[in-house]
Symmetry: C2
Subunit: 306 residues, 2 copies
């Protein structure tokens, strides 16, 4: 049994090994996957998708581990997709973090999988989405999507989630401040981790002030800021409550549709760009627009064909 259709059926009835093999086929984007995509998505049970993102060093993975523990205490089956960026520097850090997840490795009701970035954003987003669908079909709920929020691509992958938790740590440097700006925009909830450090309260106050004025999504109530100490579990219950409160809001038809429109527009741009790159037409178009020899809409029309 190695065809994705049979693997999907086995995964649905609780076969972890089949699920693992299906995820490998998804990660490799094997052509045999394509015909079962409609079945894969039809098998979804509507698990809650929670994005967890934040700069390296914020203790994101420790928080994911603590969240998993608390969710297991509530009887939930937890799926985790950890998206690894391709940078060799951050990869090392993440591999270290993974070791902390070993506490759950014997637990049949926790399924964790790392997905490596293949350098292609659209590809990784689709792969992540399909991996989430596989975990959903296998009755894991919620599914945590963990990304290192250092770049646009990771922010976009976090955008697949219904509820996005941005993890920050007190006393981080200037570089991290710059990352924050982009991250806070996607935050539904901000967790200030390492909450036992002296500077944590001050960081939380600062973030609350920032979110209520400039940051955060335009026209929406500011994201709540919650102090957590992942290593001791302090604040994790409050974080889960905030996530559950947000879920109800996030699952309104309007918000589901707005999220889908955003995802679809990004995917269209991504795919059209990828095709133009493949045809060798992308750079010519970019140069023409950059040098104002062509307007962007006409350039786009030519790229898409009429």
């Amino acid at each position: 049994m190695s065809d994705p259709g049979s693997l999907l059926e086995a995964a649905r009835t609780g076969d972890r090994r089949a699920l693992g093999r299906l995820l490998t086929i998804i990660e490799n984007q094997d052509p045999t996957l394509r015909p079962i995509l409609p079945r894969l998505f039809a098998a979804g049970r509507g698990a809650h998708l929670i994005g967890i993102t934040g700069p390296p060093g914020s203790g994101k993975s420790t928080l994911v581990s603590a969240l998993t523990r608390a969710l297991r205490d509530r009887g939930r089956r937890v799926g985790i997709i950890a998206v690894d960026p391709s940078s060799p520097y951050t990869r090392g850090a993440i591999m270290g973090d993974r070791i902390r997840m070993m506490e759950h490795s014997a637990d049949r009701d926790v399924f964790m999988r790392s997905m490596a970035s293949r350098g292609e954003l659209g590809g990784l987003a689709a792969t992540t989405w399909q991996a989430v669908a596989a975990l959903d079909a296998a009755a894991y709920d919620p599914i945590l999507i963990e990304t290192v929020g250092a770049g646009q691509s990771e922010v976009e992958i976090a955008g697949l989630a219904e509820t996005t938790v941005v993890v920050e740590a007190p006393e981080m440097g200037d570089e991290v401040q710059a990352i924050k700006a982009g991250l806070l925009e996607v935050a539904d909830i901000v967790a200030v981790n390492k909450g036992d450090r002296p500077a944590a309260q001050q960081s939380a106050r600062y973030l609350r002030a920032m979110l209520s004025t400039a940051g955060g999504r335009v026209g929406r109530t500011p994201a709540p800021v919650i102090l957590t100490t992942a290593t001791t579990g302090e604040g994790i219950d409050r974080l889960i409550e905030a996530i559950e409160r947000h879920t109800r809001e996030a699952r309104s038809p309007e918000q589901s549709r707005a999220r889908a429109v955003n995802q679809l527009r990004r995917a269209l741009a991504e795919l059209a760009q990828r095709r133009a790159v493949a045809h060798g037409a992308w750079l010519t178009s970019v140069e023409a627009v950059a040098e104002r020899r062509l307007d962007p809409i006409t350039a786009a029309e030519r790229l898409l064909g009429s």
Copy 2:
């Protein structure tokens, strides 16, 4: 003489009436325009494109008028494209503002044109771009693109500019605060207008603090905040200096290309969405993604065709 080709030739040699008629053809997106688009863009002289945007009531149009006066004093020929949103409420306000521009109406070296929104974002962005090319061919430099920065579409049109000035006024309400968040992201320069009001200094300090921490473009130096009083001309020289300083940075090959990539990606998404809407396939795709029956990339592939 009414074909766009002849009008373009006449406009290039200084015929204002021909330029006006060419702009009408552009605004109407007349089919006769299409064949001359390559010539229109080839005729460009590389004018500096300055976006001026900000919420209604910030005194944006008075500032455009004051900027125009100061640029004329420096011997520059100033082109102005004012993009009117379709909302009847703001339209009234803008029409009132236009009257202030009448001081320049006898000046042959100032050319101003309002472009109405036809409700289609992609269309308006292309139209604006083509109108800018026409003014550029007619040797106006700089060209100011004025938008009411109340919505995503206006922010996107402002994105056509090389240097974007966001105009704010002190003591604005909560609604405007919300608008600010989105606007500050696109700001290369922030002008706090009505600088003679008591709260102006405090607003400027506040904006500077906000830009240096959370707002502003990620990974770039914070946008300068400049106090201006458009009605007296106070601060306008400093604003022009800041614009000129920014131009050099904005015209690097990297930044020109990055701007073009953004514009092209937006145009691709817009155009692909518009086509899907026309084919009746858009809503079905959005629903499928919203209900997780399909991943966004596969949905995009189906919309684009293979």
